[in-house]
């Protein structure tokens, strides 16, 4: 039998048809809550060698949303992150990085709302120091409370479709499943789950964490993600600005490929040149 053996996860339904309508040029915008964005790449600001390189990378990436953290004031700090981000004209998405309980995450989100004058929050509640994997029960609890308080909540979550659905059900504006642990650069370890998450929720899916290089970002989009967030993959690359450009192109390529509908995977070859008219040689 030489039928298609696997109607791959990457792009399309079981019959190979694209699940996403082909976007018309210029109108393929990312919509989260009541905002729309032209870029489907979100940038984490951590790990850049300097604020100047961060600014250049933002420009090269074309991103419109960047994450920021809150930490104790360092009186000796040089340069202003806030000024760099304001100059870049990007939206701030404060995170709750470093929080291990719902209580701490909720308080951090409230502080971030005060500091950055935005109700948007990338909710992180960490459950394990070695892997930095999310603590699911605390995450869900914090998400529910923050939604109740009027926040636009984008939770960093495991690649579990059931948890993603629970998060969407309590009112999260998007879900941000991990491809692999934060900063690991291990790519998407369970593409199957990421594709299932896309089917499980009606809110945008932003692949977060684990992206190591451009092909990981393209795969995320081919799997149906609505956007990709990258931090270390860009900031700790040997040339962060060039990698920012690469990620931008990869997200666009993956998005286009998803909409185009990839061919099914086959075990055997399927000739692309017809056999009709093939000459016979003596």
């Amino acid at each position: 039998m030489r039928d298609a053996i696997d109607t791959s996860l990457a792009g399309g339904t079981a019959n190979g048809a694209p699940t996403t309508a082909a976007p018309a040029a210029g109108v393929d915008q990312l919509k989260i809550a009541d905002r729309t964005f032209g870029s489907r790449l979100l940038l984490g600001t951590g790990g850049f060698p300097s604020l100047a390189i961060l600014g250049e990378a933002i420009a090269a990436s074309g991103c419109e949303i960047v994450t920021v953290a809150l930490r104790r004031v360092d009186p000796g700090a040089r340069g202003s992150l806030i000024d760099v981000l304001a100059d870049a004209g990007v939206e701030l998405l404060p995170n709750t990085a470093g929080c291990h309980t719902a209580r701490d995450a909720v308080l951090t989100a409230r502080l971030a709302r005060e500091a950055f004058e935005t109700p948007w929050v990338k909710l992180e509640v960490i459950g394990d120091e070695d892997t930095l994997l999310p603590d699911a029960p605390e995450l869900l609890r914090a998400a529910e409370q923050l939604v109740d308080e009027g926040f636009v909540v984008l939770p960093y979550t495991t690649d579990d479709p059931v948890l993603a659905r629970r998060l969407a059900d309590v009112g999260c504006a998007a879900v941000m499943p991990l491809g692999s642990p934060i900063g690991s650069g291990m790519g998407i370890r369970n593409p199957y789950n990421i594709a299932l998450i896309r089917e499980a929720v009606d809110v945008p899916v932003v692949l977060d964490a684990g992206v190591g290089t451009a092909s990981d970002a393209a795969l995320a989009m081919e799997l149906g993600c609505d956007a990709v967030m990258a931090a270390s993959a860009i900031s700790r690359a040997q040339d962060p600005v060039r990698m920012a450009r690469a990620m931008r192109a990869a997200v666009q390529a993956g998005r286009l490929a998803r909409a185009a509908g990839r061919i099914p995977r086959r075990l055997y070859a399927s000739a692309s040149t017809p056999n009709e008219g093939l000459p016979e040689f003596p």
Partner: protein, 67 residues
């Protein structure tokens, strides 16, 4: 004793949050700054009027690069 960003400080009871910010060279109109006292947010509008009590635990936070 009032704890400021996790350390014992010479901030005295009765000082305002705004005065504490001044000690840290943080202008009261600084962007990207938030203050918590004893685990509760002190809104910017209250920085001048919020007086610290003895044993208060003050956290003054600002924007930091992060994923």
């Amino acid at each position: 004793m009032i704890r400021l960003n996790g350390q014992d400080s010479d901030v005295r009871a009765g000082e305002s949050v705004a005065e504490v910010l001044g000690r840290l060279d943080v202008p009261s109109d600084a962007r990207g700054v938030a203050v918590a006292v004893d685990g509760e947010v002190v809104p910017r509008a209250q920085w001048d009027s919020f007086m610290l009590q003895e044993h208060a635990r003050v956290e003054v936070l600002s924007a930091m690069q992060g994923g």
